[in-house]
């Protein structure tokens, strides 16, 4: 399997506050890795380090040298950082993902437009080509941003909490779509939702200041405890439960 990127004893911090410590981690071609961990554990920081938005305070990260800079990463942020009131159409937002390849865009080729049209159709957004973002539902907006992330054919797709916005009707399709994309690119998906993670990913990484990689999609409570990775308990129906005081 071909390497996408590798982190060696990497640490990252905001000022004096160390968020990631001594992380060694590698992602290969066609990996589908779920990233879990508590709030403030460093999941988003991990993504930012991969995106190059935060420089590591120690250690290193390097990408496979055979990958062009321009085809490395597609990114779906947790919340839209764009202004939904901005006068820009669905097609244009998806086309803006071509910035992954071209730093300065002067014009769009007919091929780019055709590709955007195909993505719009695949993501179930047909008819909304010319719509403004403020006319979309949360789930539709999320799909537009997914389209933007993949139009440049990246080798690695980073998803930050995609479940937050997915509307239930599209949810199954959304993960089906990810599975399909996984044939072409590695996926790193941050999520709180352990149930969802374990049914879709092939392996997972638990981030809580340190990172522990688990090369299987099955997550047992023992493993989570051993990894120091506290999670929310999610139950359905009337399950009687008692929460006891922590032992010292």
């Amino acid at each position: 399997m071909d390497l996408i990127f590798e982190m060696n004893s990497l640490s990252a911090s905001y000022g004096t506050n160390t968020v990631l410590e001594n992380v060694s981690f590698r992602v290969n071609e066609n990996d589908f890795i779920g990233v879990i961990g508590p709030n403030g554990g460093g999941k988003t920081t991990l993504l930012k380090v991969i995106l190059g938005l935060i420089k590591p305070s120690a250690g290193s990260i390097f990408f496979n040298s055979r990958l062009q800079d321009s085809e490395k990463i597609g990114y779906l942020p947790q919340i839209s950082t764009g202004d939904v009131d901005y006068p820009v159409s669905v097609t244009d937002v998806i086309l803006s993902g071509m910035m992954i390849r071209k730093r300065i865009i002067t014009r769009m080729s007919a091929d780019d437009r055709k590709k955007a049209g195909k993505i719009i159709e695949e993501l179930g957004l047909s008819g909304l080509e010319k719509a403004s973002l403020n006319e979309l539902s949360g789930g539709q907006l999320q799909r537009v941003l997914l389209g933007r992330a993949i139009i440049g054919d990246p080798k690695l797709l980073l998803l930050d909490e995609p479940g937050n916005f997915v509307d239930s009707t599209f949810e199954i399709d959304f993960y089906g779509k990810l599975k399909e994309l996984n044939n072409k690119m590695s996926i790193l998906m941050v999520s709180h939702d352990i149930g969802m993670i374990s049914s879709h990913v092939r392996s997972f990484a638990c981030v809580n200041r340190k990172l522990r990689y688990h090369p299987s999609s099955e997550i047992t409570n023992e493993q989570l405890l051993a990894y120091g990775c506290p999670i929310q308990l999610i139950t359905h129906g009337d399950v009687p439960h008692t929460v006891l005081k922590q032992h010292n």
Binding site: S80, D83, Y86, P87, D92, V93, S96, T106
Partner: protein, 288 residues
Amino acid sequence: MEGTIFQYDFIVKGLLGAVFASITAGFTGTYIVTRKMVFLSGGITHASFGGIGIGYYAGFNPVAGAAIFGVLSALGIEYLSIHHKIREDSAIGILWAFGMAIGIIFIYLTPGYSPNLMSYLFGSILTVTNADIIALGIMSLILFIYFGAFYRTILYTSFDESFARTYSSSVDIFKYVTTSLIALTIVLNIRMAGVILVLSLLTIPPNIAMLFTRIYSRIILLSVITGFMGTTCGYIISYFAGIPVGATIIFTLVITWIIIKGFFLLRNQFARKQTRLLLNQYEIRETK
């Protein structure tokens, strides 16, 4: 005879001024309104008054002084906000007043009476020189080429700056260049509309345009057209009523905006009422 030549010259200058002011204001206005940086532009405008004052005092062209002050303060605010060193709105507020204070101090220190001061505050077509018109013409051309060549980059980086920054290291350069062009546009239009009114020349036309379209390039085009109509109407009214040009232009534009906005609001309300009526009828039939 002399009177007619003067009138002819006045009309040509006024017309050319209106064309170029509308073009420059249409491009930059669309950018600042959609990016919600109207307050920043207000800061740049008033900071540039400091340059006008120093120009008077030191005896060089006040517009050149304003241009230097305007561009430097624009770059300063963008730099500090990109690097998160300041609370942006407070910094703009401080700069706003500081520029005016410098301007007033230096104008008072200048020996003799400054008859043109009012024209910088409120604008006057009478004091607009041929050089001013030529400068505005060149500025129109520069903006046309710049927005034409980098239309998509400008659109994408202003829609989602942090996404663009993830991929492109040239986002900051684009911000600096565009903000400098905005500062220069504002300064060049100060002669026409004055420090106090120039911002509305930039912000009202795009707001009228956005009532009709949500496509960026069309907003620019419509802004230029509305701006031109507003300025020419303003000229004509001010000429016959004998009132200041800048104020008349702004007054015309705002009234236009209110009328169109009001029309759209009423139409929407009417449409809602119709829907409610239809729904009511439907319900009555259902219950029967």
